[in-house]
Symmetry: C2
Subunit: 216 residues, 2 copies
């Protein structure tokens, strides 16, 4: 099962939302075609990388004309499954969870957060950014009545595996992990770990090199 | 100037914090050496990739013994400049900004957020997670009195370039961009854009493939 869900071109897949955003803006201004050099400039990468990225979604360009914008958009959305909407629950409606509930960009990409769960009694029976918040104790019960494709995990790290076990037992196949915990899941469950340290590492490495070159 | 701050092995640099966290835990249990296969298992990647990653920080392993853990930690911290602390300001103390102020992990990596700025009068003169919040109108004035290496940008996208121009004019050399705006900066200023869509794209692509393989 695992081999079907392995993504080989991870950096390319990570860049697809960036392309999509640029292409949608170009399309809105009435443009029909775009060159790899224009895409490269807007993405801040080199043209050869753009051409390699576009190989993944199998669109051919025409010399001196470029790539057809509408087809690029269609293929990216198909590749990512962003044509249909994805129903999700969010567990842990603290600072981080609330900022995800407030994120409209994910909404425009088809993510629909149907419910939030928290064990803080002040938050239960309220709604945060339009999403109703339920008692975490009711997670298992309520998941049975919902058709949920994705769980967004924003609980403190110590609870992460425990909540994950409940999610997996309830048939949830995708877990977006915003905790610092590394989760154990069966082979047919997909997890994606999100944290700020990789971006902070890149930034730190660049700042360190900038200082070094300034001191030369 | 730009060529000195170009990072070639971006995926490797993004993985360094993961290695660091694993190595620190191993070191705390008294381990002295670690094999690439053990690191690979804990990172969830293949051993050859671990060996390539370690080439970047120039540590040699010994056959059947492994890599010296303390040296790996030292080299990673040096590479990322995480030995010294980095003073930062945060602009925009809304939901997202507050969740970053609440993030203790960045703190343990040397990031010290000295001040926050917001244009909401209810937030000024308060402190959020121990960080004092000032009026955004005072940004330029207060930056002159501080030695700030990094600005964390969490304002609405429409204000992003405007605030960036103030930061650049005040001599800030690093901007961590949490807005959806693409920023224009001079060549000697480093920006790192952070958003949830690349991770969401990877997750969506994997979920789409999982469904496809389940339907076969």
């Amino acid at each position: 099962m695992k081999r079907h869900t392995k993504i080989d071109k991870l950096p390319t897949v990570r860049r697809l939302p960036g392309y999509l955003s640029i292409l949608q803006k170009l399309s809105a201004t009435g443009e029909m075609f775009v060159s790899s050099s224009k895409l490269a400039e807007k993405m801040g990468i080199i043209p050869i990388l753009v051409r390699k990225d576009i190989e993944l979604i199998q669109v051919s360009g025409t010399p001196r004309i470029g790539y057809p914008i509408k087809l690029l958009i269609e293929r990216i959305e198909n590749y990512l499954g962003w044509g249909a909407s994805l129903d999700a629950v969010l567990i842990g409606a603290g600072q981080l969870g609330s900022s995800i509930l407030a994120n409209r960009e994910l909404n425009t990409l088809g993510l629909r957060i149907a419910a939030g769960f928290d064990n803080d009694s002040r938050k239960m029976k309220t709604s945060v950014h339009g999403v109703p918040i339920y008692d975490s104790a009711r997670l298992e019960e309520l998941l049975k009545t919902m058709h949920i494709g994705l769980a967004i995990l924003c609980v403190p790290a110590v609870y992460a595996q425990n909540v994950t076990d409940i999610l997996v037992a309830s048939g949830v196949k995708g877990i977006w992990n915003f905790t610092s915990a590394r989760l154990s899941v069966p082979e047919d469950v997909i997890t994606q770990k999100e944290d700020l340290t990789p971006g902070y590492a890149v930034l730190s490495a660049k700042l360190t090199r900038l200082q070094t070159s300034a001191c030369r």
